[in-house]
Symmetry: C2
Subunit: 339 residues, 2 copies
């Protein structure tokens, strides 16, 4: 089945079929419908490989996503796919475990798939300039920056929130609601990543509010596993530690924390308030609804694709964009009446 | 940087480097470590494209996943990726919206990426043999079968649960707990898909238990959006309908239902029991924990990859495998004391 067969089937020229296939405007709606019906009826599939050969360039953009269990990244991938496609590129997605090396994965993918550029999701914050020499195409860090690395700022682009400031906002929200003993639930305070930054933001905000940091109130889970978060919060409660509020550095950790508090007979928010950072759809349906600082996931994905395509097309240079979260007030934070 | 440079750097032969790169067993641990260190130090990336050209065949297996918002499919994709990789293939993943045509997407992908085979996730249940002629490589339907189509059973493989029977199991579990007025929450009773099958299973089980089907107790949301499920259950409650239990055909719909019941002042499970089918990790952390029939996601993914690679390698023929769910008893179903 070729373009000629479709043309013969419809009684039009091959160039008309080609115009329909390529969405050119100069085809009447009636002819367009006729050709599209024939394409469907004949199950004709345009041979894009051949087209790519003729035009002799790739349209592939790589998306390398680290962390397979992260629902926040899944929602970003959805928008990335749509945006990449709408700009005439194809998305080559590779999802790798948290332990894997995203730079190496991207370098391999670049060679295998002839990538024009790469968007990293959930990567490390500590790239070295030398290590990044493996990549010869432009790349954008989406949801993070290279704050712990030595990569020159004009050598890459990034779209992220200010993790420290946002964690500080969450702490101040709790303090404004009368809380003084605020626990924190995180993966690792020295992960050279989001955990470290948000933990720094937590401690800075405590200091700014003249509150002392109590190491006994830091629950470290090692990773983002919900069962580890659940167990960690149970242990915190069982230790007899006194706290009236908890900041979880992600929504999924917060959901596990609410479960642990509830299972131990503590009411959320009456006995303990919970706030998080992320803004998953699902945490809007927990009981109570999670109060959380929502990252602008769709905007971050759109901005990343725009930055990368501008770099590919030579119409833009490397930039760094910080975005703000939006507070979604749920039912998981209560005002402490007697302070 | 070539394999020769690595060999010179380490003072070993190129064939030794090659054996390390290809994970051959006949290299001493010390030499293996030395070569791997050099590979890391030099940021050497093996050129797999060149290797693929030399071996002159593709290793690409396509995974076409329909429905971008489905957390159940995300967990499957994770295992699929691992299994495909461990069998020496590469995964080419395409995620498409529910409205899109997965057969067309797969046919395009087959040509562009020289796929050896395709695994469909979350596809339609009503393929025609003619339509599937677009695909020239073997394919496996993962999580569903072609029960509403005319595809001969020896023309494709499938791994799925028996949707009707599993929905029936859920209804009988509620009946065994004393419930007689059982609502159902689903996307669409005529979707030619999971919704239709599970709805049929619900009605058949009611009939087998000598319970009458009441159309007023069927909440139809149109799709799997949580907000539509939430609104639908709120309307059911506001209508004054009498029911003591609810079967949601997916975990995410059930989570929205529990939220709606709670927000309307009904306690789960004391005032209304909720059961679902899927078994997401997250629904293990809702308050109360969701009682649900867990699909064996990892086993389904593994079996699908095994079937497909056997078809590709000519060591197996098309098969259809039905798997059982496992009941995870949470806290969302109560026994009705006075029946």
């Amino acid at each position: 089945m070729t373009i000629k067969d479709i043309a013969a089937y419809c009684g039009v020229s091959t160039s008309t079929v080609s115009r329909v296939l390529n969405d050119h405007p100069d085809v009447s709606p009636a002819v367009r419908d006729l050709v599209n019906q024939a394409i469907r009826a004949c199950h004709y599939v345009p041979n894009n490989s051949a087209r790519a050969l003729v035009s002799s360039h790739s349209t592939a953009v790589g998306v390398v996503s680290r962390g397979l269990d992260n629902p926040f990244l899944s929602s970003l991938i959805r928008v990335l796919g749509r945006e990449i496609h709408s700009r005439g590129y194809t998305m080559v997605l590779q999802q790798i475990p948290t332990q894997a090396d995203e730079v190496k994965a991207a370098a391999l993918l670049e060679r295998e798939k002839k990538l024009l550029g790469v968007i990293f999701l959930g990567g490390r914050f500590n790239y070295t300039a030398e290590e990044l020499r493996q990549l010869t195409v432009p790349f954008v860090c989406c949801t993070y920056t290279n704050i712990f690395g030595d990569l020159p700022r004009d050598a890459y682009s990034s779209v992220s929130i200010h993790d420290q400031n946002e964690a500080g906002k969450a702490v101040r929200y709790l303090v404004d609601h009368g809380h003084r003993r605020i626990a924190v639930l995180l993966d690792d305070p020295a992960d050279n990543s989001i955990g470290q930054l948000r933990f720094q933001g937590y401690r800075q905000a405590l200091a700014q509010c003249a509150l002392e940091y109590d190491p006994a109130l830091a629950v470290v889970t090692g990773d983002y596993a919900m069962n580890a978060a659940y167990d960690g919060v149970c242990r915190l409660i069982d230790s007899g530690a006194v706290f009236t509020a908890l900041l979880a550095i992600s929504d999924s950790l917060a959901i596990a924390a609410i479960k642990a508090l509830t299972d131990r007979g503590l009411r959320v928010p009456e006995d303990c308030s919970v706030i998080a950072i992320d803004g998953l759809e699902l945490s809007g349906y927990t009981v109570p609804t999670l109060t959380t600082l929502c990252q602008p996931a769709a905007d971050m994905a759109r901005e990343s694709v725009m930055m990368l395509t501008e770099l590919i097309e030579g119409t833009g240079s490397h930039r760094h964009r910080l975005m703000d979260t939006t507070l979604r007030e749920g039912g998981s934070v209560a005002r402490l009446e007697s302070v």
